[in-house]
Symmetry: C2
Subunit: 325 residues, 2 copies
Amino acid sequence: MHTIKDVARLAGVSPSTISKYMNGGNVREENVKAIRDAIAALDYRVNPFARSLKTQRSQSIGILLPDISAPFFGTVVTALDKTLREHGYHTLISCYSANHALERENLRYLLSTGVDGLVYIPEDLSAEEFYELTANCSVPTVQIDRVIQGVAGDAVLVNNADAVYTATAELIRRGHRRIGLISGPKFVSSAKERQVGFLRALSDHDILFDEELFFSNDHAFATGYQGCEALLSLENKPTAIVSTNHDITIGLVTAIRDMGLRIPEDLDVFGFDCKDVCTMMKPSIPVIYQPEQIIGQTAANYLIERLRGYNGQPRMTRLECSIVL
Amino acid sequence: MHTIKDVARLAGVSPSTISKYMNGGNVREENVKAIRDAIAALDYRVNPFARSLKTQRSQSIGILLPDISAPFFGTVVTALDKTLREHGYHTLISCYSANHALERENLRYLLSTGVDGLVYIPEDLSAEEFYELTANCSVPTVQIDRVIQGVAGDAVLVNNADAVYTATAELIRRGHRRIGLISGPKFVSSAKERQVGFLRALSDHDILFDEELFFSNDHAFATGYQGCEALLSLENKPTAIVSTNHDITIGLVTAIRDMGLRIPEDLDVFGFDCKDVCTMMKPSIPVIYQPEQIIGQTAANYLIERLRGYNGQPRMTRLECSIVL
DNA sequence: CTTTTATCGCGAAACGATTCGCGATAAAAC
DNA sequence: GTTTTATCGCGAATCGTTTCGCGATAAAAG
C-alpha cells in the first residue's frame, strides 16, 4: 500500500498538493496530470483512518433499529441507505433484536465508532439514558417510527392514530361492534398511538371499550397468533380484529386459518404493513400501509441538513398512512 | 473530548500505560485504580480513528448485497450481524439495489472504508473485475447465496438443485406433467442451479422439457406476476408452477388470485422463501425454505477464522433446504 | 517596466492512538 | 546479602492524512 508521500515523490510535488488534489482544491494543470499519473501508477487510495483522524469525520451514519429482517424496517433502511449514499455517506447498521440491554450496548458501540450521525428506532430507552450516552459526542440524531418521550430532536413518524382510527371506523361501518386489537408493547410510542386511534374510533361511534378485547405483547408472529386464540376463546368473542404490525398480522391470519375460520365471514381483519400479502389474499384483506420509502428519505434529508450545519429547532414530520381496502 | 494524554496526566502515569490498560495488558493494581478513576472523571473514550490508523484495523465487516428489504436477506444479515458482533465486529451494510453499476461502485466504496472483511452476495461481477477491485486490499471475503464463477474463496450456499428437484418431483407425484418455472436472472448462480434441479426432475421422470414453460427475469414481484400471466396465456398451459424466490412467489400467487383461479385445484404452486406466508394460506402452499440463520452464522464463522489468521484452502458449505408441505 | 493581485505549492505541525525496547522495581532463589 | 527473574512503566517514534501561513511565481494593471 502506498502513501500520499509516495505519490508526492513520484509526481514531483509535495504531499500537501496531493491532498489538495484529492479533496478538490485548485491545482495547476501540469501538476494535475503528473499527480493523476502517479496515482494510477501506484494505485494509490487515501487511507480512510488517517483522513478521519485528522478531520474527525467518518462519512458514515449509524442506524440503530430493533430488527432488520422486518420488511417495514428493511424498506425504510433501503431508502435511507440510498439517500445517504447519494450524499456521500454510508450506513452502519446495528440491530438490537428488540433486546433492551442490547439496545443500550449497541447505541454505545455505534457512537464509539465515530459515526457522524444517527438514525434511531428506539424501543426501551429513557430520555436520561439517551442523553447520558450521547453526551460529549454531539451526534445529530433523527428518530424514526417512534420517539423517546422527552428527547428533543428531529423525528419522522406516521400518523398512527388516524390510520388505526380509519381502519377501525371502516370495520364499524361494516357492522362490527365487538372489535379486538392486537398490539405491540405498550411502552412503544407508535403502539400507544395506534391504541389511541382505536379507542377514539370506538368512542366516536358510541361503542364501549372492553378491556378484554385488547391484547398486547411484543411485535412478533406469536403475538398475533396467540392474541387471536385468546380473543376468540372469550365468552363474548370479537367479530373483527385490528392488527398493528406486519408479523402480528401474519400470525393472526395464520391462527384464523388454522382454526378453520373464514375471513371475513367468520372474523373480519384489518392488516398492517404487509400490503403485498394482504392484497394477495382472496378476498383481499384491508390493510394499513406506511410510506416506507418516504420515511427513509425524509429522515435522511433531515440528517444531511444537520450535517451541513443547520442548527435550528428540532423538526418533526408526521406522514399519513394509506389504507388499501 | 479528552485524549489518552489527559487521562495519563490525571492518573499520573504515561500514555502507554493507559493504552495497555485499555487493551487488556498487565497493569499494576494501584495504577489500575487511578486509571479507572481518571477515565471515569474525564469520561474518556478511545478515538476509533487514531486507533485504526495505528492498527490498520477497523473491527468492521462490510456486507454487500442486492437488497436488504427482501426477507431472506434480512434474516441472513440479522444472523450475520449477531454472530459478528459477538466477536467484536460490527457490520457495514451496502445495498446495490440489483443495479449492476452500483454493485461495482459500492464494492469499491466498501473496500475504501477499510473494512476488515467482506460478506458478498454477488449478482453481476466477473472474477476479473472482482480481483481487480480487491487487489491490494487483501480483504478476506465470504460469498453467500451465490458465487462468482472463478473466484476462489470461502462460500456458503444452499443445495438449490436438490431443493427444486424435490419440489418438482413432488408436483410430478401429484400427477402434474406440464410444470412451469419462474426464475431469477440466468446469470445468477443460484437461479441457474434451481433451474438445473428443475430440469433434472423432469428428465428423471421422463418428461420432455418445454422451453415455453420457463420464464426468467429479475427477482421481483412483477416477475412472478407477469410470469404467471405469460405461462397461463400459453395454448398448452401448465397445471403447476414452481417459484424460485420470495417476491416471485408473492407475485405469482397474487396473479393467480387476481385471475380468479384456485390453488391447487386450478393451478398448483410451489413457493420459495416465504414460509410464513405459504403456511398461512388455506390450503397451505408447499414451500422451499432456506436455513437463513445458519447461512449467516456459518458465513460469519468462516470470516472470523480468516481474521484470526487461518490461511487454508477456500472452504465451501452447501446447506440443505427444507421442504414444508 | 514596475507594482499589484491572485494563484498555488511547500514545509511543518497537528490529529490521538499503539508499539517497542530499555530500564527500574520488586519478588524469588540461593 | 547478592543474584536472578519476572513484572511493568516510560519515552519516543510512528501510522498517513489534513491544514495553515508563508513565499514564490505568474498574470494583470498602471
